[in-house]
Symmetry: C2
Subunit: 192 residues, 2 copies
DNA sequence: TGTACATCAGTGAACGCGCGTTCACTGATGTAC
DNA sequence: TGTACATCAGTGAACGCGCGTTCACTGATGTAC
């Protein structure tokens, strides 16, 4: 039997775990390898170099992220604008649960962002958002605006609030920073 | 004559310059010291350790940032909502001109964010934003919402779009990413 | 069934590196008397 | 005006560190005949 990519899997999982624990900057190949019970030269065999491993982690994280957000989309019990609000909550919730992965996903200095899997997951998520925005527009929300423009804005809003929350910047100036507050902030600014 | 803090000034300036050139993660005390024509142990004398220097750079950058944004505020030729849009443009423009400093300002792993100067500049900027929001509300914009909630939302929106733009994430899915497009995205989502 | 060969995942030792920090020191400047 | 002392910015040598990468290798597995 051939366990093709078995160690590869283990390495990605261990690296992702460490990224959440100590941050993408503090990761070392030697540490990850040791935690997999393998020599420190083994990762090079599967990923070439450190950036290769981090790229694999980022790509897989983005897939998980897209999947996580996707569970919100298309829920028939929610009207489109409610889905948008719920999506914002899910965005912040993901960053809360997997802080290192979320950070890594948006750190082009550490990741080869032209990686096929990474790019595919990113595009998939954005296009799903555009689809939701179009459904919101059919419900009368900003019906005359470019859906991609609105999608970019919604993304930016969710991303910014999430990031300010994650870095602690928001907490310095605003009392409430739990997920309900995040949604309230988003709703207020888009007037929904 | 006592040139008190002369080298201190030089070190902060050189460090800020290098942060923009190579990124906050790639900075080394030895490099900064060498560029100031000084031994590599000199920075320790003024800043204690590396975090001390980076904290000084971040604090000063935040002051510059607040000043930069402040030039927009209170312009009597612009109505409050126009000021808000212009503020968003200035936000993104600062990150474009000083990418490393902007990044560093929101990297709590590299900076002692409880530093007095850093906290003061951050608070000053946020409170100024709250003031602008209140003037917008007097003009009929979301008159019944909590101004701090709206300010947090406006901040998040500007921050997120700026960050997605800086990391290249926005450019992967949206055609236009210049400053006009940034403003258009912001205007669309807040319906202004 | 058995032999020869190819593939390839993982080893472990070694290399070389720049780094932050420490520390006893020098030498200039300022202060007390 | 001169002497003794204190302060303090900056030096330079040394320490110790973990790191990513390289490379000849071993040994197991799969394939051809």
């Amino acid at each position: 039997v051939h366990f093709d990519g078995d160690l590869r899997r283990t390495l990605i999982d261990a690296a992702a775990e460490r990224v959440d624990e100590v941050g993408a900057d503090a990761i070392s190949l030697r540490d990850v390898a040791a935690r997999c019970g393998v020599s420190h030269a083994a990762p090079a065999h599967h990923f070439g170099d450190k950036t290769g491993l981090l790229t694999a982690v980022a790509a897989e994280s983005f897939e998980q992220f897209a999947l996580h957000l996707g569970t919100v989309l298309g829920d028939p019990t929610l009207r489109p604008l409610e889905q948008l609000a719920t999506l914002g909550r899910a965005y912040a919730a993901f960053a809360e649960q997997w802080p290192g992965r979320f950070d890594l996903m948006f750190r082009p200095a550490l990741v080869r962002t032209d990686d096929a899997a990474y790019a595919a997951a990113s595009t998939f998520a954005f296009e799903a958002l555009v689809g939701l925005v179009e459904r919101c527009q059919q419900d009368g929300w900003h019906p005359d605006d470019d859906p991609r423009l609105l999608a970019a804005g919604a993304w930016g809003l969710a991303h910014g609030v999430t990031q300010l929350r994650a870095t602690g910047a928001l907490a310095r100036h605003h009392a409430g920073v739990d997920l309900d507050d995040v949604v309230a902030i988003g709703r207020a600014i888009i007037g929904a």
